[in-house]
C-alpha cells in the first residue's frame, strides 16, 4: 500500500514526455526490427517447413528438420571440424599473438614496422589468402620439381620424408586449413592484446621491480591479471570467428574432401544451394546460431565475473 501511495500519478505530461523519449529510439527500434528481429523470426519460421526455395507452397513439418539435424552425422562432423579449427585458433593463434604483442611492447627497434607486418594478413581477403596458401602447399610436380613452395623447400633441404600433398591428404588438410586460419587471424588478437598491454600503468612494473620481482613474477602477477578482460574478449572473438570459417576453406579446397573439411557454414550452404532444402538449412542456421549465442552468453557471464573480481 505504501509503495502504491508513494507512486507518482502518471499525468498527461508524463505520457507526452515518454512519447518524446520513445520517438528518439523509434528509428533504431524500427530498423532493428526490420533487419534483425524479422529475419530471425522468418528463419525460425522457415526452419519448421520443407521448402525448395522456389515453390509457392511450403510444407509445415513441425520440428522434423531439427530432429533430422540431431541425427545428421555430417552436421556433427562439421561441428567437430569447426571445433578443431577453433582449438588451433585459441591455442596457437592467440599464444602467438600474445607473445608477439609482448615482444612489441618492449623497447625494441622497428616496433612500428613489425606492427604493420603483423596486421597485413587480417586485412587481406580470405579468398586471396586461400589461393596464396593453396599455391604454397601445392603438392604437384612439373619436370621433376615441386610446384608448391613448401614441398620445394623440403626437397631442397633433403627432408623428403616430410613431403606430402598437404591439401589432398585427409590427415593433413584440416590442420593446414586451421594453421592458415591462424596465420590470417592472429593479427586481430595481436592488435587488441598490444593495445591492452599499452594501457597497463608503467608505474606498476617499476614498483614491482623496486620490490625485487623478476620478469616472470611481473608477467604472472601484473601483466596477466591486468590483461584478463582483454584476453577474454580476444578468446570470445576467436571462438566466434573460427566457428564461422568458410570462405577460406572454399578458396583452398573448393568442394574437395568435404568429409574431412566441412564446417557448419559449408553444411548450411550445401543444404541451401546444393540440396535445395531451405527449411533444413534454416534449421541448421537456427541451431548454429543458438550454439554461438550460448557461447556468447557464457563469455558474457565470465567477463562479468572477472570484472567483479
Amino acid at each position: 500500500m505504501t509503495s502504491l501511495a508513494q507512486r507518482k500519478k502518471f499525468t498527461m505530461g508524463d505520457a507526452k514526455e515518454s512519447l518524446v523519449n520513445f520517438s528518439f529510439i523509434l528509428p533504431a527500434v524500427i530498423l532493428f526490427s526490420i533487419f534483425y528481429i524479422y529475419p530471425f523470426y522468418d528463419i525460425f519460421r522457415l526452419s519448421l517447413h520443407e521448402w525448395n526455395g522456389i515453390d509457392a507452397q511450403k510444407y509445415y513439418v513441425h520440428f522434423d528438420n531439427f530432429k533430422e539435424l540431431f541425427k545428421d552425422g555430417n552436421w556433427w562432423r562439421s561441428m567437430w571440424h569447426a571445433g578443431i579449427i577453433t582449438f588451433f585458433a585459441l591455442t596457437f593463434q592467440n599464444v602467438m599473438a600474445f607473445a608477439l604483442a609482448l615482444a612489441c611492447d618492449q623497447k625494441i627497434r622497428m616496433k612500428k614496422f613489425y606492427r604493420m607486418i603483423f596486421f597485413i594478413p587480417p586485412v587481406l581477403s580470405e579468398v586471396v589468402v586461400g589461393f596464396i596458401w593453396m599455391w604454397i602447399l601445392n603438392g604437384d610436380m612439373q619436370s621433376g620439381e615441386y610446384i608448391g613452395i613448401l614441398n620445394y623447400l623440403l626437397d631442397k633441404m633433403g627432408l623428403h620424408h616430410l613431403i606430402t600433398s598437404w591439401l589432398s591428404n585427409p590427415d593433413t588438410v584440416l590442420t593446414c586449413i586451421a594453421l592458415v586460419h591462424c596465420w590470417k587471424g592472429f593479427g586481430w588478437g595481436f592488435i587488441m592484446l598490444f593495445a591492452g598491454l599499452q594501457t597497463i600503468d608503467a608505474q606498476l612494473y617499476e614498483a614491482a621491480r623496486v620490490d625485487g620481482a623478476n620478469s616472470w613474477q611481473i608477467f604472472k602477477n601484473i601483466t596477466i591479471p591486468m590483461m584478463v578482460p582483454v584476453i577474454l574478449v580476444v578468446i570470445f572473438l576467436t571462438v566466434l570467428g573460427s566457428m564461422q570459417v568458410f570462405v577460406l576453406i572454399k578458396a583452398m579446397v573448393g568442394q574437395g574432401l568435404q568429409d574431412y573439411t566441412s564446417v557448419p557454414v559449408s553444411e548450411i550452404f550445401e543444404s541451401m544451394i546444393g540440396l535445395k532444402r531451405f527449411g533444413y538449412a534454416c534449421a541448421q542456421g537456427v541451431s548454429f546460431g543458438v550454439t554461438l549465442i550460448t557461447i556468447s552468453l557464457v563469455f558474457k557471464l565470465l567477463s562479468t565475473k572477472v570484472k567483479q573480481y
Binding site: G53, I54, Y59, Q142, S168
Partner: protein, 439 residues
C-alpha cells in the same frame, strides 16, 4: 526537445520509405529486354550482339553478368522468391528445379514458338540441345509437356590429350581402352609427366566421369534402376565403377591433389603441360587458347572398360536461357533469342568464344578441334535428359565417397556400402516427404 524528436521521426519515415521503395518491385520497361547470365567468356560477345540487335531492330537488350555460377544461381533463386526475375535468364540446376520454376509460373512455354514457320527454329537447332529444355509427355515432374528453353550452345565432356607429351613418352596413338589408358599414364610417369587432371574438387565433374563408366559397365537401364532404388550400390557392377577410381589412384594415373582441384586450376595444369590428359568439356578450347595458344592437343572419348557397350558422355546441354513468363517484354525476349540462335549470330559467338554452336548450320565455320568435339554428339547423354535422377543427397555422398577412394580412405566396397546406407535412409525420408505433400 520536441523539435529534435519531430526531425528524427521525419528522418525515420524517409528512411523507411527508402527501404520499402528499394525493396519493392521495379517498374519494368516494356521496350527493353534484360538478360541475366553467368558466362564470363561470352559476356563481351553477347554485348556486341545486343548492340547489333538494337541497331537492327531498335530494341535495347541489357546484358547483365553475374558470376561465378553458384552466385548466379543464388541470385536467380532470390529474385524468383521476390518474383522479380529478368526477361531472360538461365536455370543452372537439376531438372527437378527447372520443373519447379515452370510450375510456379516463372518460365514461358516456347513450344508454339518453335512450331511457327513450319518449325524452322526447332529444325535449325541440335535436337539434343533442345531436349535438355524439353519436358516429355510422361515426365515425372508433372510439367505440361513442351519446350521451355533456348540452347545457346552445345557442349560435351571428353578426355583431352597433349600430343607433345604423349610423343615424349613414346606413345604413338591415344589410348582406346581403359587398360591402354593405364599403360599410357605409366609411360608418362616414367618420363616425369603426370597422367589425368580434372576439376574433381567440383562434384559434378566426378559424377560425370563416374556415370560415364556406370553407363559403359552396366548400361542406362540398370543405372536408372539404381536411381529408382531397385538396384543397390553394393551391386558388383557399381563396385566396378568405384574400382575404376581405386585403380586410377593406385596406379598413379591421376595428378596429385586432383580431389581438391577446381576446374579452372585443372585447366591451367593441362594448358601449362603439367599433365598429359584432362577430363574437360568443349568449352576448354577457349580456355586453353587463352592460357597457351601453342598447346597441341586432341580429344578422345573416355577409354571404355567394357568394349561391348558404347561409351556415353555427358553433353548436349551447353548453356540454355529461358523467358520469364510474367515479363511484359516476353515477345521481344523470344524474338531476341530467336535472332541470337540464328546462323550468323551463332557463327559469331562460336568464333569469338570457341564454343560449339547450338545452330547446326553454324557448325561449318568452326575450328578442327571443336569439330572433333562435335563429332561424337551422338554419344552424349545428360541427367536433364534422363527420366529419373538420383536423390541430391545420395548423389552428393556418392561423389564424396569417390573422393575418399582416391585419397585411400575408403575401399570400393566400403564406399559402396556407405552410399547404399545413405540411399536407404534418403528413400525413407523421400517417402515421408511425398506422403506429407499428398496430405
Amino acid at each position: 526537445m520536441k523539435k529534435i524528436a519531430s526531425i528524427l521521426s521525419f528522418l525515420c519515415l524517409i528512411a523507411l520509405c527508402f527501404v520499402f521503395v528499394s525493396c519493392s518491385q521495379q517498374e519494368k520497361d516494356p521496350d527493353r529486354v534484360v538478360l541475366w547470365h553467368w558466362m564470363n567468356d561470352r559476356h563481351e560477345a553477347l554485348e556486341t550482339l545486343a548492340a547489333r540487335y538494337q541497331k537492327e531492330t531498335g530494341v535495347k537488350v541489357k546484358i547483365d553478368l553475374f558470376s561465378p555460377p553458384h552466385a548466379y544461381t543464388q541470385r536467380i533463386t532470390a529474385t524468383a522468391q521476390t518474383r522479380d526475375l529478368p526477361d531472360i535468364f538461365g536455370i543452372l540446376d537439376k531438372k527437378e528445379i527447372f520443373a519447379a520454376y515452370i510450375k510456379n509460373g516463372f518460365v514461358a512455354d516456347l513450344t508454339e514458338e518453335y512450331k511457327k514457320d513450319n518449325a524452322a527454329w526447332e529444325k535449325s537447332l541440335f535436337t539434343k540441345a533442345l531436349d535438355v529444355n524439353r519436358f516429355a509427355e510422361d515426365n515425372i515432374y508433372g510439367v505440361k509437356p513442351g519446350v521451355y528453353g533456348v540452347p545457346l550452345d552445345v557442349t560435351n565432356i571428353q578426355i583431352i590429350y597433349n600430343k607433345r607429351l604423349l610423343k615424349k613418352a613414346g606413345i604413338s596413338r591415344p589410348p582406346e581402352t581403359f587398360d591402354e589408358f593405364l599403360e599410357a599414364t605409366k609411360a608418362l610417369n616414367r618420363v616425369g609427366v603426370a597422367g589425368l587432371v580434372s576439376g574433381w574438387g567440383e562434384m559434378w565433374l566426378i559424377e560425370s566421369f563416374a556415370l560415364n563408366y556406370a553407363f559403359n559397365i552396366m548400361g542406362e537401364e540398370k543405372v536408372m534402376a539404381t536411381f529408382r532404388g531397385q538396384v543397390p550400390y553394393t551391386d558388383p557392377d557399381w563396385i566396378k565403377v568405384f574400382e575404376i577410381f581405386d585403380t586410377l589412384s593406385e596406379q598413379g594415373a591421376l595428378v596429385d591433389g586432383i580431389v581438391i582441384k577446381q576446374n579452372k586450376i585443372a585447366e591451367q595444369d593441362f594448358a601449362l603441360e603439367r599433365a598429359a590428359f584432362a577430363f574437360n568439356g568443349s568449352w576448354c578450347v577457349n580456355v586453353y587458347h587463352g592460357m597457351n595458344a601453342d598447346l597441341e592437343y586432341g580429344v578422345i572419348l573416355p577409354p571404355p572398360v567394357n568394349p561391348d557397350r558404347p561409351m556415353k558422355i555427358w553433353g548436349g546441354s551447353g548453356s540454355s536461357l529461358v523467358v520469364n513468363k510474367a515479363s511484359p517484354s516476353k515477345d521481344k525476349a523470344i524474338a531476341f533469342l530467336r535472332w541470337l540462335t540464328a546462323k550468323d549470330q551463332q557463327a559469331y559467338l562460336s568464333q569469338e568464344t570457341k564454343n560449339l554452336p547450338a545452330n547446326k548450320d553454324a557448325l561449318s565455320e568452326i575450328p578442327q578441334i571443336l569439330s572433333d568435339f562435335a563429332g561424337v554428339m551422338d554419344h552424349t547423354t545428360h541427367p536433364t535428359l534422363w527420366k529419373y535422377n538420383e536423390l541430391a543427397k545420395v548423389a552428393s555422398e556418392f561423389n564424396k565417397a569417390i573422393q575418399s577412394i582416391i585419397v585411400g580412405d575408403l575401399t570400393p566396397q566400403e564406399a559402396a556400402a556407405k552410399v547404399q546406407s545413405i540411399k536407404m535412409a534418403e528413400m525413407e525420408k523421400e517417402k515421408r516427404r511425398q506422403q506429407r505433400r499428398e496430405r
